[in-house]
Structures are given as C-alpha cells and as structure tokens.
Amino acid sequence: MDFLSNTVVLSRMQFALTAIFHMLWPVLTTGLGIYLVIIEGLWLKTKNKDYYHHARFWVKLYVLNFGIGVASGIPMGFQFGTNWAPLSEAIGNFFGSIIGFEASWAFMLEAAFLGIMVFGWERVNPIIHYIATILVAIGANLSTFWILTANSWLQTPAGVELVEGKYEVIDYVAAVFNPFMINSVMHMVLATLETSLFVIGGISAWYMFKQRHTEFFSKSFKIVLVVAIAVAPLQIYVGHLSGEQVQEYQPTKLAAMEAQWETIPAGQSADWSVLAIPNEKAERNDWELKIPQALGYILELKPTLSKPVLGLKEWTPEQRPHLLGLIYYAFRTMVAIGFFLAGLMLVTIFEWMRGKLSPDIIAQQRWLLGGWIFAAPLGYIAIESGWIVRCVGRQPWTVYNTIRTSDAAANLPPGNVLTTLIFFAVTYTLLLFAAFYFGRRIILKGPNLELPLPGETTPILGVNPGQFKPDQRPTEAQQ
C-alpha cells in the first residue's frame, strides 16, 4: 500500500477519478444539445406537436445531466492549482488562458441561455426560444473545442518556448492549432454526438419494445438513424486519422496501444495483435493472438509499412507508459464499440429500406430493438476508453516529452489528498446512483403528451407575466 503515502500517485488517482466521472455528463449535454436543435427546428417548421413534446421530454434528461456536469466540472479546473501547482506555473501562459476562454466563450453562453431553454417556454416567443436552444448547443460544443484544444496542446505542444521552466507563447495560432487539435476536436464532438444518438435511439427503442408511444418514439428513432448515417462512419474515419497522428507524434503511445515490444522495421510484414497478455517485467507478451499483416493494412492499407513502428524496448522503462494492459484493452474496446455502433446503424438502415420500421410493425423487430437498447451505454464506455488511451498512454509525461507527471505534482501532505480522494469516491458513487435512479424514473414516467403548447396554457400567465411558473413541476404536484 505504498501509494497511500505517495502524493503523486494519489493526485493522479484523484485527477483520473474526477475526470472519468466528469466525462460522463457533458456527453449528453453536448450531443443531446444538437439533437434538441434538430427537434425544435422540426417543430417550428412542421408545427407537429409531437416534436414539441419530444423537445420537452428529452430536455429533462438534459437537465439531469447538466447539474452533475457543472458540479463535477468545478474540481477539474481547480485541481490544476490545488494538486498540480508546478504544472500550473509552467503551462499557465497558454493552458490557463485557454481555460479562461472556455469559461468566457462556452460556459457563460450555455449557462445564460439554459435557463431560457428549460424554463422559458412561456416567457419568450418560439423564435427567441429556438435561438436560446441553438446558443446552448453552441456553448456546449465550444466547450469541447477549448478543452480538446488545451488537452491536445499537452499532447503535442506547439507555438511555445520554454523560458526558465515556463512556456511562453510565441505563436498563439500555432499553439491553438497544434498538430493534434483539429482531429481531437472532431473525434470528441463526434463522440458526444454519436453517444447521444445511441442513447436517444436506445431509449426510443426501449419504449417501442414495450409498445409505449410507439409511433411517437419511432419519430425520434428515425431522426437518430438519419444523423447516424453520417456520424458513425465518419467517426471511424476520424479515429483512424487520430491513430496515424499518434504514430507520427507519440510513438511511445502507439507502442503501448499495440503492446508492441519489438520494432517492426519498414518493409517488413506488420502483424496486428487482437488479444495479448502483456508482461511488463519480462518485456514481452506472455500470449498473443495475431493477424498477419493487419497492422500494415490498418495504418497504410498495405501489408508492409513505409516507416517503422517502434517497439517499447526502444525506450527505457522510465521513458515509456505503464499499465500496458489497460491501454491495450481500452483501445480495443473503443474500436470495437465504434464498429459495432456503425454496424448496428447499417443493419437498421437496411431494415428501414425493407419497410420493417413503419410504426405499426416496428415493435415486432425484437432483436433489432434489443440491439439498440444494448447499445445505449456503449458510447460512454468507448469515450472513457478513448480518454484512458489518450492520457494514460501519454505517460510518463504530462506535457509530452517535456514535463514529467512526477514533476508536475504539488508537494502536498499525502493525507490531505487521500482525504479528498475518499470524499470524491463516496460523493461520486452517491451521485451516480442518484442519477441512475432519477434518470430511470424520468424514462419510466415517459413523455407528457398532454402538455399544452406554449401560448395555450392557463391565461394567468398572459395576464400576469410576473407569475413565474417553472417547467412542469409534476413531482411536487404529487406531494
């Protein structure tokens, strides 16, 4: 139990725990945000009140996620100061300003218009409301943009110069558009959107499976499908581009992702291992299952490679990542889920074209709907896996090839960090259960199809605009 007295390890555990937990929530608020823009737009265009009721229903899940997302986001920013003060000082010039941009560009926009989006249906006219919904979605996705920009810069620092242990920005454009940035932002925006699509699709499938509001939910299901046609394959392509970049800029990470101990020279057949049991002590894999030439096809679409893939043995153990099994399998999990989701989308499109998805018979597609219900949580697993590959695979560096994680941590009494770590573990477990519990209740309760359209409610609101009537408080009404 040495780690209990090791501040660096404890601070890393705390950052990992808080980051993994935090990541669960903005997924829906960014992806579902875009979906809400689509569905509210359809309502305004077609005047079909089903779309309005869709917007009102899905926004409940949005709000549930939003609160926990905000709550768990606060410790992320503050931890750079509390637990990683030397890092803050070294990277503040660039990284700190980006965190500031995120707050001013993204959070404030999202926060200011969220109130109108959720509670403002009776207070502003539909066009203003729609603008608010769009601004919320833009705010959430801008947040992805800035955070991924900041993280990409840690992966591939550019546009800066180290002066007395601090990075000074010499070229802001180069720093923002660092090598990883565009791909990483795309990969993450698509990831939140794809995960949200499969969550919406999965929940819609569950209702149809249970034959509740089948026609109503076949609408959301089909919107999901149409968007997924573009998103799921594109995500695989962008993921592939990210892999190529890792090969170019972070060879230690690629070697860890592939548990590749020996260098594969250019021109030699590059095999790809599907499964392996890496043994870090012996510097080899105890067992592995390989597909001949597959790595060559994955990276360059031909059996051999034009440049070598460096093996882990090229570096000393202090210069390369550890927890190989975690990185190796996290990567495979992410890829497998990406392909599964794309495959599910294709099968469903095929069934749609055969006319099997019309509202009167869609409930009979038991296996297909079951597949969608099963797929609902998979996007989350893929996202967490991807972040594990990205950040555990970057080790032992915090700023790749320059600042070691052990040098980035503040010298705190381990007891302090252990205490907050335990508090986080307990608090987050509680919040996770509560979110599941309340999320389940929202879904079990289902949409309120009786909800009057804006402007058609009780005249009181028209007479007295001061009357603040928040969005349907049904649970309190039952008290």
Binding site: I74, G92, N93, G100, A103, S104, W105, M108, R473, Q479
Partner: protein, 338 residues
C-alpha cells in the same frame, strides 16, 4: 514596453476583481438563500426559495469558473500557490458547491426530499464557509519561498482573523440572500425576510467592525498601506460610506421597500470589495507576491484581454437579458403544492 509590464497586470487585477465581485454578489445571494433554506418551515417555502434560483444559479456560479480560469491564465504562479496553500478550504467549497448544484434537480425529482434539502442548505453553507476561510487565508498571507512557491502548512489559513472573515462573509451572504428574497417574493415569505435581513445586517455590521479594527492591528502589510498618503483619505472614507449605506439599508427595510434593500446591499458589497482590493493591491498574495511577479507573459495577457476582456460586455448583456426574461415575483401555484 516598461509601462506595458505594469499596465497589463494592473488591467488583469481589475478584471479579476470585477469577476470576483460579480461572483460574490450573484452567487452570494444564491448561497445566502441556500443557507436561509435551512431554517425554512415548510416544503412549500423551500420550493419557492429554490425556484427563485433554479434558472440563474448556474450562470452565477460561472463567474467563479471564469475568475478561476482567468486567474490561471493571467497569474499562473498565484493560481498554483494560492490554491495549494488553501487546499482544505478550497475543497470544502468544492464539495459544498457540488451538493448545492445537484440538489436543484434531484430534489425536484425526489419523493423524499429531506436529503436533498440538506444537500442544498448545507452545501451552500459549506461553500460560503470555504470561501470565507479562503479569503481570510489570503488576507492572512501565504508562506512562500524565494520563487513564490508555497512552503507553509496545511492549516495556516485557520487563524482567529480568518474565522471572523468567514463568519462575516456568511452573514453577508445571508444579508444579500434575504434582500434578494424580499425583492423576488411577496406575502408572508417576504415579511419573514424583512426580519432576517435586519438581523443579518446587524451581524454583518459587527463582523465588519471587528475586521476593520483587526485588519490594521494584525496584518502588517495592511497597516503600512492603510496609513500611507494619499490612501489614508480613501480608507478613512470607506467606514463613513459604509455607515451611510447601512443606515440607508436599514431605512429601506423599515419602510418595507422591495428592491431598494437589495440595491443598498449590493453597494455595501461593492464598497467592501473596493476596500479589500485597495488593501491588497499591488500584491496578489499580500506581502509576498505582487501582481507583477505572478503575471503571465505580456503576450498571453494581451490575447486574454482580446478573448476574455472584450467579451465582458457580451456576457453581461446575456446575463441581464436573462434577468429581464424571468423578472417578477416568484410564486408557486397553490394548487400544485399541497
């Protein structure tokens, strides 16, 4: 170039002070309402209190995130040193804010509301307590080595003056929370908060007097600054203005004005804040690190003025717009809650 090296950190000191003031004012009344909810006699009252914040708490809290991010970018050294030194109060605040934030939605959904009521009230209280100790701890001064890194102990922030600061801040939050509720509610609930506002005004006043007396005695740095020319004239004016504002506040409460008590309280906060800023300036950590030592490189400060500073009017605009949209008294339809 020389002047720029001085001017840029000063501009950022001003911007950060503005963000912090907006946060303390706006989330101050949120937290105050949260603390007051601990004394609410019924679920219905608590519902009104929480409804009065449900659409704005998040935007209000965002000023803290913005202040944190800007401090990180503009004064990286101070960001690390202050937060590391205040590890314990900062996490008290963070856990308080976490429980406060989730309570809004979870309480709404829950059948048994008691747990989330406590989460909301106690969360607000802990957040205020953590902030009070953090402020007290910074005023106290932080032990640093020659390069500005923290070398003190984990509990350095816990001293008698910081206890007074923390208690006073909580009273201040209760005061601004009460006056906010006077503005936004009506009937019996409003009447109750005329009373709580008066009590809070008195307790805040006592705290303010103690701090005003204690500050020059305990804090060396403050003493030398307070009695230097020409600042002494400004500092002499602050208590006078403070008494005037408290008197106005009291009058407005006596006369049962609706919006005025809130306005006077905001002005009181502003005055206190300007006093604090003048005491601290040009330090960012009193007596050890100046804003010039802690400042980021000029290139970063300039870019941040463009990308954050220029957005301030826009951010203020959409925050104000939100208040306009949701203006008016908060009532929960009696038929809905029974």
């Amino acid at each position: 170039m020389e002047t720029l090296d001085y001017l840029l950190p000063q501009v950022w000191f001003g911007i950060l002070a503005l963000f912090l003031f907006l946060y303390v004012m706006l989330d101050g009344f949120d937290l105050g309402v949260g603390i007051l909810s601990l004394t609410s006699s019924s679920e219905e009252r608590r519902s009104i209190l929480m409804t009065s914040l449900s659409n704005i708490w998040d935007a209000n809290e965002t000023w803290l995130i913005l202040m944190g991010g800007s401090l990180f970018g503009a004064f990286p050294l101070a960001y690390g040193t202050i937060l590391q030194a205040l590890y314990i109060p900062v996490f008290i605040m963070i856990f308080g804010l976490i429980f406060r934030a989730v309570a809004f939605e979870f309480r709404e959904q829950a059948n048994r509301k008691w747990f989330w009521n406590i989460a909301f009230g106690l969360g607000s209280f802990l957040a205020a307590l953590g902030q009070g100790f953090a402020l007290g701890g910074v005023l106290e001064g932080i032990q640093v080595d020659a390069s500005g890194h923290f070398i003190g102990g984990s509990w350095d922030w816990l001293r008698f003056p910081s206890v007074v600061v923390a208690l006073t801040l909580i009273q201040g939050y209760v005061l601004i929370g009460s006056t906010y509720l006077i503005w936004r509610t009506e009937g019996e609930l409003q009447q109750t908060h005329y009373k709580t506002a008066k009590i809070a005004a008195l307790t805040t006043l006592i705290g303010a007097i103690v701090i005003t007396i204690v500050t020059p005695i305990v804090y060396e740095s403050a003493r030398s600054r307070l009695f230097s020319q020409p600042l002494i004239y400004i500092f002499a004016l602050i208590p006078l203005l403070g008494i005037l504002l408290i008197w106005q506040l009291w009058q407005s409460l006596e006369k049962k004005k609706e919006a005025l008590p809130f306005v006077w309280t905001i002005l009181l906060f502003l005055l206190t804040f300007m006093g604090l800023a003048l005491v601290i300036f040009p330090y960012i950590i009193p007596n050890s690190i100046t804003i010039y030592q802690a400042a980021a490189a000029p290139s970063s400060l300039v870019i941040m003025i463009i990308f954050i500073g220029a957005l301030i009017p826009v951010m203020l605009f959409y925050n104000i717009y939100q208040y306009v949209v949701f203006r008016g008294k908060i009532t929960v339809d009696e038929g809905e809650i029974g």
